[in-house]
């Protein structure tokens, strides 16, 4: 199996303080991987590193097959300005950025695709609504429609199910499994252990360092979860310079 992503002794962080510390491992092509860990474990940071928003402090992320344009990234919802007067249709249409770019027109076929994506997430009739009028779940559906249009090889989802109801979660899970069947590589940050156990075959348990990585039932053991909680100590303002070398 080829590798979609390889982390080589990867350290990511803010202002020299590591949030992900000496992570090494391989994300296989086409895998559906849950990333689990306590708050502050570096899960979101890892996704930002993969997208390239954050540069590694040390080590490297290799994505040989995957170009930057093949990555779709859904950050935590709070980072979107929902007071901006833009319609659901336009928000979803942004998923075509790679094809349309700065000036490219949107053809009739692409309009069909936009409409199909909107109905795939169950938002028919909402096209003309501004995003400020959507509920949390509807907003997340709209963002999934945008992801559908991005048609990406590597999909990164940062806590996509936070504060959603069961129906919405199950609809969105269907989409995720559809992507999985289409052999796309998916990394999804989660807090819900039961969801990970039932829906995601592989898990990375992260607490700055990788506590465990592999088949979900082997990773999410009581022992490992305890270890994860203990490893994630508080931020130390006077931390020494880390001398650990490549593992």
């Amino acid at each position: 199996m080829t590798a979609a992503l390889q982390f080589r002794n990867l350290t990511l962080g803010y202002d020299r303080h590591p949030a992900v510390h000496h992570l090494t491992g391989t994300v296989a092509d086409g895998v559906l991987l849950a990333v689990i860990g306590p708050n502050g474990a570096g899960k979101s940071t890892l996704l930002k590193g993969i997208v390239g928003v954050l540069r590694p402090l040390d080590g490297a992320i290799e994505r040989a097959q995957i170009r930057k344009r093949d990555i779709a990234y859904l950050p935590q919802i709070a980072e979107i300005d929902r007071s901006f007067p833009i319609t659901v249709y336009d928000l979803v249409a942004m998923g075509l950025w790679r094809r349309a770019g700065l000036f490219g027109g949107i053809s009739r076929r692409e309009r069909d695709e936009i409409e199909k994506a909107i109905s795939a997430v169950g938002l028919e009739g909402f096209e003309g609504r501004t995003i400020g009028t959507l509920s949390g779940g509807q907003m997340q559906r709209a963002l999934f429609a945008r992801l559908l249009l991005q048609d990406a090889q590597l999909i990164l989802l940062d806590e996509p199910f936070t504060s959603l109801d069961a129906k919405t979660i199950s609809d969105l899970l269907d989409l995720i499994h559809r992507w999985h069947r289409e052999r796309r590589t998916i990394l999804i940050v989660l807090h819900d252990l039961d969801l990970a156990r039932t829906q995601f075959p592989e898990t990375l348990l992260l607490a700055r360092e990788a506590v465990a990585w592999g088949r979900t039932q082997d990773v999410l053991t009581a022992e490992n979860l305890l270890k994860a909680r203990q490893m994630c100590e508080a931020f130390d303002r006077h931390a020494e310079v880390c001398e650990t070398d490549a593992a």
Binding site: Y73, P75, D81, P85, I86, F103
Partner: protein
């Protein structure tokens, strides 16, 4: 009716020039103002307008009331403050609003000081409140040129600019256009302020940018109509303001801004999108 509305413009060339100038300022400035408002940068625009003053004042000191010198000086000062305030905000603990306030207070004081060194009080009034009734050819061409550049640039940058406002992280993940777009937008803001400076002076330059934008917010739900309404409000403010000034003898610049202010107040009270009327007279609820 004709005497009241049309005759002043037919009879007097300075009124026609003022009208053209006000239209150009409205066309270029109002759309920029809408984006400033939506990016929560309304006060940034105000601060930047003051920040232009010392540059224009240095131009004035060197070569008197010369259009070229004051324009170049204003643009240079505007960019310096925009980039300087951004730099201070990013590399120190001070937030951007505080650093802008610091920069513009210093700039305003410095500008008034420089003008008063050489010029008379009339010059100072001209610099502070503009002279929309005394626009010469060169100034009109400058203002119209700025309006043209603004509209073209906004047309080109539309997509990344909107995306940068709504979801900057998404833009960053699909394209490197974010930072250049932001810089180009700041440049547009400075250009429009310099243009408005000639017509309305440093203290009122943002008036035709922000008041129509703020008023339009209460009438439109989507961006395109918001911009169209803002431009319309700005244009009508220009016409009505000039007429009020002509018939009453009041200063033209402040009259234009006050008319825009009236539009704003009316919009706050009556506007269907989040206006006070909806707040106090909500009407009966709908079925779904």
């Amino acid at each position: 009716m004709y005497d009241f509305l049309i005759a002043p413009f037919v009879e007097f060339e300075f009124m026609r020039r003022a009208l053209v100038g006000a239209f150009a300022l409205a066309l270029g400035g109002a759309p920029v103002g809408v984006f400033l408002m939506l990016r929560r940068m309304s006060l940034t625009g105000d601060a930047m307008a003051h920040a232009i003053l010392p540059g224009a004042a240095v131009g004035f000191l060197v070569s008197g009331l010369s259009l070229f010198a004051m324009t170049v000086g204003g643009i240079v000062a505007g960019f310096t403050v925009a980039l300087g305030a951004g730099l201070v905000a990013r590399s120190t603990e001070l937030k951007e609003d505080a650093s802008l306030a610091a920069f513009y207070l210093v700039s305003l004081a410095l500008g008034v000081l420089i003008v008063s060194l050489k010029g008379s009080n009339i010059d100072l009034l001209h610099v502070l409140f503009g002279s929309v009734l005394a626009l010469d050819d060169a100034t009109l061409i400058l203002i119209a040129g700025i309006a043209t550049i603004s509209l073209l640039t906004l047309a080109i940058l539309w997509r990344p600019l909107v995306l940068e406002c709504v979801d900057p992280n998404f833009l960053r993940s699909v394209s490197g256009a974010g930072a250049p777009t932001h810089l180009a937008f700041l440049a547009l803001m400075v250009l429009n302020l310099v243009g408005a400076f000639h017509g309305l002076g440093t203290l009122l330059a943002v008036g035709l940018m922000m008041l129509p934008a703020a008023a339009a917010r209460f009438w439109a739900k989507d961006l395109t109509s918001m911009i169209v309404i803002a431009v319309a409000v700005a244009v009508v403010s220009g016409v009505v303001g000039l007429l009020v000034s002509y018939h009453s003898g009041a200063a033209a610049g402040p009259a234009i801004i006050l008319v825009a202010g009236v539009f704003y107040v009316v919009s706050v009270v009556l506007g269907p999108v989040g206006g006070l009327r909806r707040h106090f007279v909500p009407g009966r609820h709908l079925e779904a």
